[in-house]
C-alpha cells in the first residue's frame, strides 16, 4: 500500500482506520503489529521544498497557514478546532502511519499538545534553533555522557536531547502509573516465589527450566531474609505506543535499571531553556521521585535507623552507567563506592575511608548483581567477598536485592499474562508485546511458521560483565540472518530464544536541522519501592530513532532523547525543580566520609595537573623560541630545552640528538605530533586525558565550575587534530592549558572546603611540583658546566619566576641566584622549598597525625627533604657548580628526588591501599580411594 501515490499526497491519509486519542480504555488490546509494517515517511513534498528554498520562518508560516486552511476544508473533523496556524506543529508531518504523539490523523495537534504547540510557535524557528544549541551546551557541560571517561575511542557520545518534549496528559499518566505499579508488584512477587517456595514451578505456571536453566540463577540468592520479602526496589519499564494508541511494555528492567538520572538532567536542561513555556504547562516535577528514593533507602536500614549510612555501588569509571551513578550520588547525597572500596568485617559491610572502616547499612546497587560476592558466586568480576552473609545476618539491605535481574530476561515476557492471573488473580493492566518462547512446543511451531514477522531475542538476558566470558547467544545477531539461518538457530537451541512480534512505534515530532522532523518513540519509565507499593517518576526518558521497529532497550545507546512532560490541567505545586535540588535534598546531604579510593584519585588528579602544567610550560617555551625573532638555529637555550622535553618523554628522543638546524621543518611538525599523540602515555594529550578521567572519578568532590574547566581543557584537546596542528596552534593550546589549570587551582583554593579531600589533592600537587622543579633544574641547568643567561632566563620563565627574579636582582640571571630562587626561597610559591613546606603542612593535617607522640614515617621523610633544602647553602652550591663541580647540588637534588616517592608510597600504604583483587582458592583434587 505504500506505493499508492495517493498516500503521499493526502495529508488526511484516508486509508487509515479511525483511531481514538489516548489509550483504548477497556477495549480488548490490539496486537502491536496491526499497524503498517512499512511506514516509509510520508514526506509532504511541497512543504519541504519550500523550507529548503526559502528558509524564512514567516514566509513558511504564511504558506503553512494556507495549507492548514486547505486541510480544514477537506476534513470536516478538524474544522471545529480553533485555528492553529502559528503553532510549531503547523509544518509537522508524522513519519509513520501509526499513532502520532503530537497530532491526530487529520494533522491537528492533540488536545494535550495545543498549549505547547502555540507557545513553541511563538518561539519561532530561530528561537528553537538557539535553544537547541543552548540545550546542547548544557548537556555537554553537565557531562551527560555514558561512555567511559577518558577513553579516546569513546568520545563524543553525549546524549542528544531534543528540545521538544514528549507530552503525556495526567489522565493517561494515571493509567500508565497504575499499570506499571501492578507490573512492578508482580515482578517482585515472581522473584519472591522463585527464590522462595517456587509455587509457580510446582504448580506448572512456569516451566522449571526458566529458573534452573537460567544462566544467572544462583542458589545463594535463595532464602535470603529480605525485609517485607522485597527483592525489587527499582523498576524500569521500556514502553512504546502501539498503532492503536495504547502503551505496551516491550521490556522489563529489574537488575539495576538505568536512565532516571538522564531523565532528570534532561529536565534540568529543558526547563532552563524553555523556562517560560515550562512554567505555563503545569508540568509535574521529577524531584518527588528522587525524594522517594532517598526516603525509601533510608527506611531500609535495619541496624542504624536514626542515621543510616547509604552508599551507591557503582561498577566504576569503565561502566556505561558511571555518569549516572556519580550524578545520583551527588544529587541524593549518598557516597559513591566501588566494590574494592568495601570490605566485610565483624558481620558488617564496611567502607574504607581515610579515618578507617565505616559501616554501610544500605547499598543502592548499580553494579550488576551476578558476581557480587566472589566467595559464594565465584567469577573474576570485582565484588565484595562475604557480602551475602552480611545480608543473611540482617545487617545490610541491598536494593535491588542481588538476583533481581532474573526476571528481566525476555523469556518471562512470554509468561507474564499467565503469571499475573496465577499470582494476582487479575489480568495485566498494560499488555506486553506478544512474546513466544521456543522452549514450549506450541510456541516453537508458531515461531517457525511466522518467523518473518517476529524478532528473535535471546530468551535469557545475560549481561556482559567485565572479566567474564560473553554469552554465545550474544555474539549472534538473528536480525542480520537469512530466514533459513534464523530457523536453524531456533531449531538448534529452541529454549534459548524467544520471538517477539515486531513492533511499530508511534511517531513524534523532533527538532532537526532547524526545522520540524519526525522520529519514532520509545519511553522508559522508572519506579521506586515505597512502603507496600511503588512511586513512579512523573516523566521518563524517551528515546527517538529513525526506524519504527528498531529495538532500543538500552538507554545508554547513542541516539536522541526527549524529556517527558506529564501535564496537569491544574497548576502543579509551584516549586521549581531547581529549588527542589538545592532545597530538601541537599540540606540532608550526609555522605561526609572520604573513601580511600576517592582520596587516591584526588591525589593523582593533583599530580597530573602539575605534570601537565610543567609540560605545557616547557612546550610553550620551546614553541616561543621556534617562532621567535631569533632564528631557532642560533638560539642558545633551545637545545637544552628540547633535550629536557625528550628526557621526560614528552617528545621523541630523536629530536634531542640532532642539530636544531638540520631538522627544523620536522621539529615544527614533530612537536605537535608528539604532544598530541594519544598512544604515548607521556604525551601532553595523554596527561590531559588522565586529568579528565580522574576528575570524572572525583566529580562529586568538585564544584560545577571546576568541572567545567576540566571539560574545556578536554574539549580544546579533542578539537585539535595532530596532523593539522601547527606551532601557532600549539602555542595557543599550551597557553590556554596553563591558564585553565591556573583557574582550576584558583577555584580549588578559593572554593574547596579544607577537608581531607583538599589535602590529598594538595599533597599530589606539591609532590609533583617538587619533582617537576627538580627535573627542570637538573635537566636544563646542571647538564653543562656553564648555564648561559639565555637558558637561565628560559628556566625562570618556565618556572613562572622571572618577574620575581627581575624585581629582586635587576640584572642578567646568574646561576647561584637562580638556584636560590627556585630551590630554597620559601617565599617563592614555585620554589622547591615552598612545595616541601606545604607538603609537610598537609601531611600534618591527615587523620590521626595530630595526636601522635612521634611523627609518622611519611612525615619524617618529608621533613628530611625540607631540612636538606633548608640546611644547604644553595647559593654556594650554585656558585660551586659554575666552577665545574656539579656533584654537591646534584647530590642534594638526587636525595630529595629519592625521598619524595617514598613519601608517596608511605601515604599510599597508610591511607590509600584498598583490597586487591581476590584470588580463588585452589580446590582439593579428588583422587578418590579405590
Amino acid at each position: 500500500m505504500s506505493d499508492n501515490p495517493e498516500n503521499t499526497d493526502d495529508p488526511n491519509r484516508p486509508d487509515q482506520p479511525p483511531r481514538s486519542d489516548g489509550a483504548g480504555g477497556d477495549q480488548p488490546a490490539s496486537r502491536p503489529n496491526e499497524g503498517p509494517t512499512d511506514p516509509r515517511p510520508l514526506g509532504a513534498q511541497p512543504v519541504q521544498a519550500q523550507r529548503q528554498s526559502q528558509g524564512q520562518f514567516q514566509q513558511q508560516l504564511n504558506q503553512l497557514q494556507q495549507q492548514q486552511q486547505q486541510r480544514s476544508a477537506t476534513n470536516p473533523a478538524s474544522s471545529t478546532i480553533e485555528p492553529i496556524g502559528s503553532g510549531v506543529l503547523a509544518d509537522y508531518q508524522p513519519a509513520g502511519k501509526g499513532y502520532d504523539e503530537n497530532v491526530d490523523q487529520s494533522g491537528t495537534p492533540r488536545p494535550k499538545w495545543r498549549q505547547l504547540d502555540q507557545l513553541l510557535g511563538k518561539v519561532g524557528a530561530e528561537g528553537m534553533e538557539r535553544r537547541r544549541k543552548q540545550i546542547r551546551r548544557m548537556v555537554h557541560q553537565n557531562g551527560i555522557a555514558f561512555s567511559s571517561y577518558g577513553d579516546p575511542k569513546d568520545r563524543e557520545r553525549h546524549l542528544q536531547l531534543d528540545p521538544i518534549p514528549q507530552i503525556i496528559s495526567s489522565d493517561e499518566w494515571s493509567r500508565i502509573d497504575s499499570a506499571l505499579k501492578q507490573r512492578a508488584t508482580l515482578l517482585n512477587m515472581i522473584l519472591a516465589d522463585l527464590y522462595g517456595p517456587g509455587k509457580l514451578i510446582a504448580d506448572r505456571v512456569l516451566p522449571a527450566e526458566v529458573l534452573f536453566d537460567h544462566p544467572h540463577h544462583q542458589v545463594p540468592y535463595h532464602g535470603l531474609p529480605l525485609p517485607g520479602d522485597r527483592h525489587l526496589h527499582f523498576y524500569g519499564a521500556e514502553l512504546f505506543r502501539s498503532p492503536s494508541g495504547e502503551w505496551w511494555v516491550v521490556a522489563d528492567r529489574t537488575d539495576s535499571p538505568g536512565g532516571c538520572g538522564f531523565a532528570l538532567e534532561n529536565r534540568l536542561a529543558i526547563s532552563r531553556a524553555f523556562s517560560n513555556e515550562y512554567r505555563k504547562c503545569n508540568v509535574r516535577r521529577l524531584a518527588p521521585y528522587f525524594l522517594a528514593v532517598r526516603e525509601h533507602l533510608a527506611s531500609l536500614s535495619t541496624r542504624n535507623r536514626d542515621n543510616p549510612q547509604i552508599a551507591i555501588l557503582s561498577a566504576g569509571i569503565g561502566s556505561a552507567s558511571y555518569f549516572e551513578d556519580s550524578f545520583l550520588a551527588r544529587y541524593l547525597g549518598f557516597t559513591l563506592v566501588e566494590a574494592h572500596d568495601l570490605v566485610v568485617r565483624s558481620g558488617l559491610l564496611m567502607l574504607k575511608t581515610l579515618e578507617g572502616l565505616t559501616p554501610i547499612d544500605v547499598l543502592m546497587r548499580r553494579q550488576q548483581g551476578n558476581y557480587l560476592d566472589p566467595l559464594e558466586l565465584g567469577g573474576g568480576a570485582p565484588g565484595v567477598a562475604g557480602i551475602l552473609q552480611v545480608v543473611r545476618d540482617g545487617n545490610l539491605v541491598i536494593a535491588s536485592a542481588p538476583g533481581s535481574g532474573l526476571v528481566e530476561s525476555p523469556v518471562f515476557m512470554a509468561f507474564m499474562p499467565r503469571i499475573c492471573r496465577a499470582l494476582m488473580g487479575a489480568d495485566l493492566q498494560m499488555p506486553g508485546v506478544a512474546t513466544y518462547w521456543g522452549g514450549e512446543a506450541d510456541s516453537l511451531e508458531l515461531i517457525l511458521d511466522t518467523i518473518d514477522d517476529l524478532a528473535l531475542l535471546p530468551a535469557f538476558r545475560q549481561r556482559t560483565v567485565v572479566g567474564m566470558p560473553v554469552s554465545q547467544r550474544k555474539l549472534v545477531d538473528p536480525q542480520a540472518m537469512t530466514r533459513d539461518e534464523r530457523i536453524e538457530l531456533v531449531r538448534n537451541d529452541a529454549a534459548g530464544w524467544v520471538a517477539q512480534e515486531r513492533i511499530v512505534r508511534s511517531s513524534t515530532a523532533v527538532w532537526k536541522n532547524g526545522s520540524m522532523a519526525s522520529g519514532y518513540l520509545s519511553m522508559r519509565s522508572f519506579l521506586v519501592a515505597k512502603d507496600e507499593s511503588w512511586c513512579s517518576l512523573s516523566g521518563g526518558l524517551s528515546r527517538v530513532s529513525d526506524t519504527p521497529s528498531e529495538l532500543i532497550h538500552n538507554p545508554f545507546q547513542k541516539g536522541g532523547t526527549k524529556d517527558v512532560w506529564v501535564v496537569s490541567s491544574e497548576p502543579v505545586e509551584q516549586v521549581s525543580l531547581l529549588n527542589g535540588v538545592s532545597g530538601p535534598l541537599s540540606a540532608q546531604q550526609g555522605g561526609g566520609f572520604l573513601s580511600s579510593r576517592v582520596a587516591e584519585n584526588l591525589c593523582w588528579l593533583g599530580r597530573y595537573m602539575e605534570r601537565a602544567d610543567a609540560t605545557a610550560r616547557m612546550l610553550r617555551a620551546v614553541v616561543l623560541r621556534l617562532t621567535g625573532e631569533v632564528s631557532p638555529a642560533e638560539s642558545i637555550e633551545l637545545p637544552a630545552l628540547i633535550r629536557a622535553l625528550a628526557v621526560e618523554g614528552r617528545i621523541d628522543a630523536g629530536f634531542a640528538i640532532k642539530e636544531i638546524s638540520s631538522q627544523l621543518p620536522e621539529l615544527d611538525h614533530g612537536l605537535a605530533i608528539s604532544s598530541l599523540d594519544r598512544s604515548d602515555p607521556n604525551s601532553l594529550r595523554s596527561l590531559v586525558e588522565r586529568i579528565s578521567s580522574l576528575a570524572a572519578q572525583v566529580r562529586e568532590r568538585l564544584s560545577a565550575d571546576s568541572w567545567r574547566i576540566v571539560q574545556e581543557i578536554s574539549d580544546d584537546f579533542n578539537q585539535c587534530d595532530a596532523e593539522q596542528c601547527d606551532l601557532t596552534d600549539l602555542l595557543e593550546l599550551t597557553s590556554d592549558l596553563v591558564l585553565d589549570l591556573a583557574s582550576f587551582n584558583g577555584l580549588i583554593s578559593e572554593s574547596m572546603t579544607r577537608t581531607h579531600g583538599f589535602r590529598f589533592l594538595n599533597i599530589g600537587r606539591r609532590l609533583e611540583r617538587s619533582l617537576q622543579m627538580i627535573a627542570l633544574v637538573k635537566n636544563c641547568l646542571l647538564q653543562k658546566d656553564v648555564a648561559e643567561s639565555e637558558l637561565l632566563e628560559a628556566v625562570l620563565e618556565i618556572a613562572d619566576s622571572i618577574m620575581t627574579y627581575r624585581s629582586r636582582y635587576h640584572a642578567n640571571p646568574q646561576l647561584p641566584a637562580v638556584i636560590d630562587l627556585l630551590l630554597s626561597d620559601e617565599k617563592n610559591p614555585r620554589s622547591l622549598a615552598f612545595q616541601l613546606v606545604e607538603l609537610n603542612n598537609n601531611l600534618d593535617s591527615l587523620p590521626g597525625n595530630q595526636d601522635r607522640t612521634q611523627f609518622p614515617v611519611e612525615r619524617r621523610l618529608a621533613m628530611d627533604a625540607l631540612h636538606s633544602i633548608r640546611m644547604a647553602d644553595t647559593e654556594q652550591l650554585g656558585a660551586s657548580h659554575v666552577q665545574g663541580k656539579t656533584s654537591p647540588l646534584m647530590e642534594l637534588l638526587g636525595k630529595v628526588e629519592e625521598l619524595l616517592p617514598q613519601v608517596s608510597t608511605e601515604v599510599s600504604n597508610r591511607f590509600l591501599v584498598h583490597s586487591g583483587p581476590f584470588n580463588q582458592m585452589i580446590s582439593e583434587s579428588l583422587p578418590g580411594p579405590q
Binding site: A208, P374, L375, F918, E924, G928, P929
Partner: protein, 290 residues
C-alpha cells in the same frame, strides 16, 4: 561402624595474604544411617569471624574470614561418627525409570529433585551421554536395576588414573579418555542420568580403605571421596551408587553432603588477596574404631 576421621588442609602462600574468606564443607550431614558424635574444626590462624549455617541443599557449612596478614592457613576437621548399614531396596520392584523423567507429568512438581535434572556448572547433558546410558536404561526397566548396571559399566569401561584428569577437567574429556578419578566418574554418571532427564546428585564424603593383606593401615593416606545419588521415586527416595568402586554405598561410606556437582560441595572454597604462589597439601585419615 564407628569412624574417627581427620581431614587436614594446609595452604602455604609464597606471599603474605592480608585477608581471606572461606567456606568449609567438612561437617557430616545428619542422615538416617549416619550419626555424628563429634565434629570439631580447628583453623590456624584464628579467624576474625566464624559462622555456621545450612546451605541451599541442606548441608552444614561453616564460613570464616581472617583479616590479619598470614602466610599459611591450616584447616583441620576432626570427626567421630557412627554409620549403620543402609537398607537396599529390591531392585526389580523399583519404578520404571521413564516414570521419573523430569518434569513429572502429573501432580505438583517436586522442586528439589527436579532441579537436579538440570545442567550445572560442571555437568552438561549431551546426546552421547544419553546414548551411553540408554544401553542400561532400556524401555520400562526398573530404575534401581538400570542404575546398578550403569554403575558397573562405568566401573568396567573407565580406568582409574589420577594423572588423566585435574579438578577442572570437563566431563566430555573424561568420556573421551575413559579415565579419571572418583569425581570424574561421579560427574560422568550424573551427566548420563541428566541426559535422560533423570534427577541425580553429587555426593561428597569419605571411604574406608583396607590396607593390603598383612600390611598396617597407613595413617593420613586416605582421601575425600565422591559418588552419585539417584532419585528413585517417592517411595525409595534417593539411593547412592559408587561408580569408582562399583558398589551401593553402605558401611564403608561416610557422607558429608551433596549438591549439583563438585562445585556445590567442594571441601574448602575461598578467596584471598595477595598470596603469590600457593601450595596446598591435604591429608585425610579415616580410622575405623573397633
Amino acid at each position: 561402624m564407628q569412624y574417627s576421621i581427620t581431614h587436614k588442609t594446609t595452604y602455604d602462600y609464597g606471599d603474605v595474604v592480608p585477608e581471606c574468606f572461606n567456606i568449609v564443607r567438612l561437617s557430616p550431614r545428619p542422615i538416617a544411617d549416619q550419626v555424628c558424635e563429634s565434629h570439631e574444626l580447628t583453623i590456624v590462624p584464628e579467624p576474625a569471624e566464624r559462622v555456621k549455617r545450612t546451605d541451599f541443599f541442606g548441608n552444614q557449612i561453616e564460613q570464616f574470614s581472617i583479616d590479619s596478614p598470614h602466610s599459611s592457613l591450616t584447616v583441620t576437621a576432626r570427626t567421630k561418627l557412627k554409620v549403620t548399614s543402609r537398607v537396599i531396596p529390591a531392585a526389580a520392584s523399583s519404578p520404571a525409570w521413564e516414570t521419573l523423567v523430569v518434569p513429572q507429568q502429573q501432580g505438583e512438581i517436586d522442586l528439589l529433585s527436579t532441579q537436579l535434572a538440570f545442567d550445572s556448572m560442571h555437568i552438561r547433558s549431551r546426546p552421547e551421554f544419553g546414548k551411553y546410558a540408554k544401553v542400561s536404561f532400556t524401555h520400562n526397566r526398573p530404575i534401581v536395576e538400570a542404575a546398578i548396571e550403569l554403575t558397573s559399566r562405568i566401573h568396567e569401561d573407565f580406568k582409574f588414573d589420577p594423572e588423566a584428569t585435574v579438578v577442572s577437567t570437563p566431563v566430555e574429556e573424561v568420556f573421551q579418555k575413559k579415565a579419571g578419578v572418583c569425581q570424574d566418574f561421579a560427574h560422568f554418571q550424573i551427566a548420563c542420568l541428566r541426559s535422560l532427564n533423570l534427577p541425580a546428585r553429587y555426593v561428597s564424603g569419605y571411604l574406608r580403605t583396607y590396607p593390603p593383606p598383612g600390611k598396617p593401615r597407613l595413617v593420613g593416606a586416605d582421601a575425600s571421596h565422591a559418588w552419585v545419588g539417584i532419585y528413585c521415586g517417592p517411595e525409595i527416595g534417593w539411593l547412592d551408587f559408587d561408580p569408582t568402586n562399583d558398589v551401593i554405598p553402605s558401611l564403608d561410606h561416610v557422607t558429608i553432603g551433596w549438591g549439583r556437582d563438585y562445585a556445590d560441595v567442594c571441601p574448602i572454597q575461598g578467596v584471598f588477596t595477595g598470596g603469590g604462589k600457593t601450595l596446598m597439601s591435604v591429608s585425610v585419615d579415616v580410622e575405623p574404631e573397633a
